[in-house]
């Protein structure tokens, strides 16, 4: 079949209702065939080479629970210290490390990975596909998370954990006030973990947009997917400012480039802005997946459908945007002009509206249905009670005069715990109770879960409600003793006692999960009679989820759809070619477009995460020169990674249903990889925008400006900047020529020209840095110029690497006919590198290319 007829076939498949069912086959035969292609390798090797979303999703969640337990133990140490006014339980230094690690663990090692794990595990099942878009990236994300987390935990055990609070304010976290490695552990460890967050965000976005079951239009997809789409986009935009802030602070600490140091033109408030640009959306990044779980669970528990699907989707869109306009409410007391305070106060009040829309939709759903008080509903009720209280204190804190009084007190501690435990932990416990039969194939042991719920609920409110009062009485957060404030004693003692009650509750909850997984009786196939595709499979789920993929007419059948799918009556049945195949569909229409072949088990993600880990450890040790071989190893492994997906031959089209034959992804330019690259560039663009914000902020606000005169040769500087931009621009032309010559296999010359152009750009950049730019330790302006140059240099270097890869592919004959190889991804990157270089070059010229 020619490409034209394949396209026509795909086109006819567009009218989803026209897709015919495949003939039924023997389910056991299909299972064996699929399991051979999709199962993890046996034994210990399977543990390190697994790329399956089911395995990795569970691993993410289990690891997050372990970190939750560690964070919980630290919380108990804090409560033990505060139970009496002059607690001698912990000294101040250890106390500082413990409350810093408690917050950091709960945020970065529990909440975010837990939501990632839930999404990684559930989304393919809910959307009707066999895996996420980039399985090796899932595995890389997990190993980065684990290694980054272990760095933090080992630092805690070694007594060198971060001790500056979980938001690491400068100048306290700068080299002058935190001279040891404690702050470096946070900056490098958390950034290492954030690789996994960005990886998950790319995965989730691409999977939701491109891998929904045929016929599952965006306007009809399950709400959990809408929530996760909002979350993942927020992660792509929210995390880069924190990554930038961490990189800048680490550069300041390691090399003395001043970004946050007032004396040399920096400003500590830049850290606060960048941190909270991440930090406030982070609250919604945590809340939205939990709300997605609630929107899934509540209608099922109430034997009805969700009320106000469209209103909830609109509320999600509103939250995604508005949550980025609130960050300054964390900085109301730093001396910001009235008008800016009013902007952010108004936005902080307004964001309550879309949140309330969801709460009322859930209440309405319960009202119109017949609620059944199974265990998940207990936790849903715990959510309502707790989260609404936390939301209301949030509105109080959004009002500037009140915020000024309550700032940095235990009132804020109470508020954030009401929001995070109410808005995330209770929904996650509901989700656990709801999906554990799906995950384990076992029903729970009755009674224990209810006991755990009541113990947690009573313990939680007993602990944190009282903190509102201690806060209003003026008790600051993060103090370890309060000998002069006897009025806080009984409140703190009571909080501590209830804290231990809550801990017992969480221990019972964990015991309930373990007993269910270990000893629970076999669960019926769909214990909740839920309509979703997540129940349209064997329990526990097989390695491939669906023996044949659901299509129109099978999208809301729940367990009733399972049998037909297991017999191969859906699309793309079995694995007759021995490959991991999934269907890729159109973004809006969910029309089947092509078949993507996913990679199999590999230890490459573990190796790559290990190489990144070596880089992090070399940075932590101060062995900066040894970071270069580590980076070279990272680059080499990325090359091997990309080679793993290269195809030297045409792949035959695949018949996914009678009359519907589709090409495989190597014959398309709009691949999953290209969509993933767009997502990555969204994150990268946000990081660049945050850097421009930093340039603007320091130029306008910082006290130590104007900076000293530039000393470089201005004409040489301007010429080199022009050469840099021209080199990257020629790369843009070269990649387009390569795409034009792709059909006849003539991409060798354009790829070589693109490589040369990028190398010329790099040479100009190197010359600029060596001969024109001033010492970056002199002033923040010079440091920012250095960072801008470094940013452009890194992108030019990667562009050169992609050109080299394209050249290699072209020489091997992998770019010919319909196979574009890496050219589409290179084009995206080259365009981005050229545009950012143009902007950075314009800034350097505006500041004066030289003296």
């Amino acid at each position: 079949m020619t490409d034209a007829t394949i396209g026509a076939a795909a086109g006819t498949g567009a009218a989803a209702g026209e897709i015919a069912a495949n003939a039924p086959q023997r389910a056991l035969g299909l299972h064996r065939e699929l399991d051979r292609a999709w199962a993890n390798a046996p034994g210990w090797r399977g543990q390190i080479t697994a790329v399956s979303h089911t395995t990795l999703g569970l691993r993410f969640m289990a690891t997050a629970l372990v970190f939750f337990a560690i964070g919980g133990i630290l919380a108990m140490l804090i409560r033990a210290q505060l139970a009496t006014p002059e607690g001698a339980f912990l000294d101040t230094e250890i106390y500082n490390q413990i409350f810093t690690m408690h917050g950091s663990i709960m945020m970065f090692l529990f909440a975010i990975p837990m939501l990632e794990g839930l999404a990684i595990y559930m989304l393919p099942k809910i959307l009707g596909t066999r895996d996420l878009a980039f399985p090796r990236l899932t595995a890389l994300g997990y190993w980065c998370y684990l290694f980054g987390g272990l760095i933090l935990i080992f630092a805690l055990l070694g007594g060198v954990a971060p001790h500056d609070g979980w938001f690491m304010y400068t100048p306290l976290s700068g080299a002058n006030y935190s001279p040891g490695v404690n702050a470096d552990v946070w900056l490098l460890g958390v950034t290492f973990v954030e690789i996994s967050a960005l990886a998950a965000a790319v995965e989730i976005t691409v999977t939701i947009l491109r891998q929904r079951a045929p016929g599952m239009k965006l306007t009809e997809m399950p709400l959990f997917a809408w929530y996760m789409l909002g979350t993942s986009v927020m992660m792509l935009v929210g995390f880069p400012p924190l990554i930038l802030a961490s990189v800048l602070l680490e550069i300041e600490r390691a090399f003395g480039w001043p970004f946050f140091e007032v004396a040399r033109g920096g400003d500590p408030l830049l850290w606060q802005h960048l941190f909270w640009l991440f930090g406030h959306p982070e609250v919604y990044i945590i809340f939205l997946p939990a709300a997605g779980a609630l929107s899934t669970i509540i209608p099922v528990m109430c034997r009805t459908t969700i009320l106000g699907y469209g209103a909830i989707v609109a509320a999600i869109v509103a939250l995604v945007f508005l949550s980025f306009g609130l960050w300054v409410h964390h900085m109301f007391t730093v001396g910001i002009p009235h008008m800016a305070l009013a902007f952010f106060s108004a936005a902080s009040v307004l964001v309550a509206v879309p949140t309330a829309v969801q709460v009322f939709a859930w209440i309405g759903t319960m009202w119109k249905g017949r609620p059944e008080m199974h265990l998940p509903m207990y936790h849903v009720m715990g959510f309502f009670l707790t989260f609404v209280m936390g939301g209301l204190t949030g509105v109080m804190l959004a009002i500037v005069p009140f915020n000024w009084q309550a700032h940095d007190t235990h009132f804020v501690v109470a508020h954030l715990h009401y929001v995070l435990i109410g808005g995330f932990v209770f929904p996650m416990m509901a989700a656990a109770a709801y999906w554990m039969p799906q995950i384990t194939g076992r029903a729970r042991i009755k009674g224990l879960g209810e006991t755990a719920f009541w113990t947690i609920l009573i313990g939680f409110h007993g602990t944190f409600f009282l903190m509102h009062l201690t806060g209003l009485m003026g008790m600051p957060r993060r103090i370890d003793v309060y000998p002069d404030n006897p009025e806080w004693i009984w409140l703190n003692l009571t909080s501590s006692l209830f804290g231990f009650v809550m801990t017992i509750g969480f221990a019972l909850f964990a015991l309930d999960l373990v007993l269910q997984a270990w000893l629970g009786p076999r669960s019926p196939r769909d214990p909740w009679r839920a309509p979703g595709l997540d129940w349209a499979m064997r329990l526990p789920p097989p390695s491939y989820n669906f023996a044949s993929l659901p299509g129109p007419g099978r999208l809301d059948g729940g367990a009733q759809a399972a049998q037909g799918l297991a017999r191969g009556e859906g699309l793309l049945p079995g694995a007759p070619r021995g490959r991991r195949e999934v269907l890729v569909t159109g973004v809006g229409s969910a029309r089947p477009e092509f078949v993507a072949i996913l990679p199999g088990n590999t230890a490459l993600p573990l190796g790559l995460a290990g190489a990144i880990g070596v880089f992090v450890l070399m940075m932590l040790s101060g062995l900066y020169w040894l970071t270069l071989p580590a980076l070279a190893l990272v680059a080499a492994l990325i090359w091997v990674w990309a080679r793993g997906m290269a195809r030297g031959r045409d792949a035959a089209p695949v018949e996914v249903a009678p009359g519907l034959t589709l090409p495989v992804h190597t014959h398309r330019q709009d691949t999953l990889g290209r969509t993933g690259a767009v997502c990555l560039l969204l994150a990268d663009g946000t990081l660049f925008a945050a850097l421009l914000f930093g340039v603007g902020f320091l130029s306008v606000v910082a006290l130590g400006w104007p900076p000293p005169e530039l000393t470089g040769d201005p004409e040489l500087g301007a010429g080199l900047i022009a050469g840099l931009v021209a080199g990257l621009g020629l790369g843009v032309v070269a990649v387009r020529l390569g795409l034009r010559a792709q059909g006849r296999g003539g991409a060798v010359l354009p790829a070589a020209a693109g490589l040369l152009a990028n190398l010329v750009a790099l040479a100009c950049l190197g010359w600029l840095a060596a001969a024109v730019l001033d010492d970056p330790t002199r002033h923040a302006r010079d440091a920012l110029r250095g960072v801008l140059t470094g940013y452009v240099g890194l992108h030019a270097l990667i562009a050169a690497g992609m050109a080299a890869f394209a050249l290699d592919q072209a020489r091997r004959g992998e770019i010919v006919g319909a196979r574009a190889g890496c050219l589409p991804a290179w084009r995206l990157w080259q365009d981005f590198a050229a545009v950012t270089a143009l902007i950075a070059g314009a800034i350097l010229l505006a500041q004066g290319a030289g003296g």
């Binding site: 965006l218 306007t219 699907y309 469209g310 209103a311 989707v313 609109a314 869109v317 509103a318 995604v320 945007f321 508005l322 980025f324 306009g325 109301f332 007391t333 001396g335 910001i336 002009p337 009235h338 008008m339 800016a340 305070l341 009013a342 902007f343 108004a346 936005a347 307004l350 879309p354 500037v400 009140f402 000024w404 009084q405 309550a406 700032h407 009062l469 209003l472 009485m473 003026g474 009025e487 973004v587 809006g588 603007g696 902020f697 306008v700 606000v701």
Partner: protein, 115 residues
């Protein structure tokens, strides 16, 4: 314009307007625009109110262009447009009423002291 792009167009207008007004506010205060007269108001106020008005006009124009009916494919873009317009109106209305560049400081009192 695709369904997703139409759905986020309204909030995008808010995001751009909010960013521009906030950036202009910071830049104007640093450059002393508050002391520069521009007709009946200061240059600072004129720049901020002008940017806000442009955002409102863009939001209203978007709302005008979107179809009024057509299920969720039309409803979500309209809801997004309303979100953007209301957010622009509500979060930036302080450009009309508050002083611009004087920094606010918190008085140190406690709201609640036990008897």
């Amino acid at each position: 314009m695709s369904f997703l792009a139409r759905s986020i167009a309204g909030p995008m207008i808010w995001a751009v307007t909010f960013s521009v007004v906030y950036a202009l506010h910071g830049a104007g205060c640093a450059l002393g625009w508050d002391g520069v007269v521009a007709g009946p108001v200061s240059l600072q106020r004129a720049a901020l109110v002008g940017s806000w008005a442009l955002g409102l006009i863009a939001g209203a124009a978007l709302l005008q262009r979107l179809p009024a009916s057509g299920g969720m494919r039309a409803g979500l873009p309209r809801a997004g447009a309303w979100t953007g317009l209301v957010a622009t109106l509500f979060t930036l209305f302080p450009v009309l009423v508050t002083s611009s560049c004087d920094a606010a400081r918190a008085p140190a009192i406690h709201l609640f002291t036990p008897a």
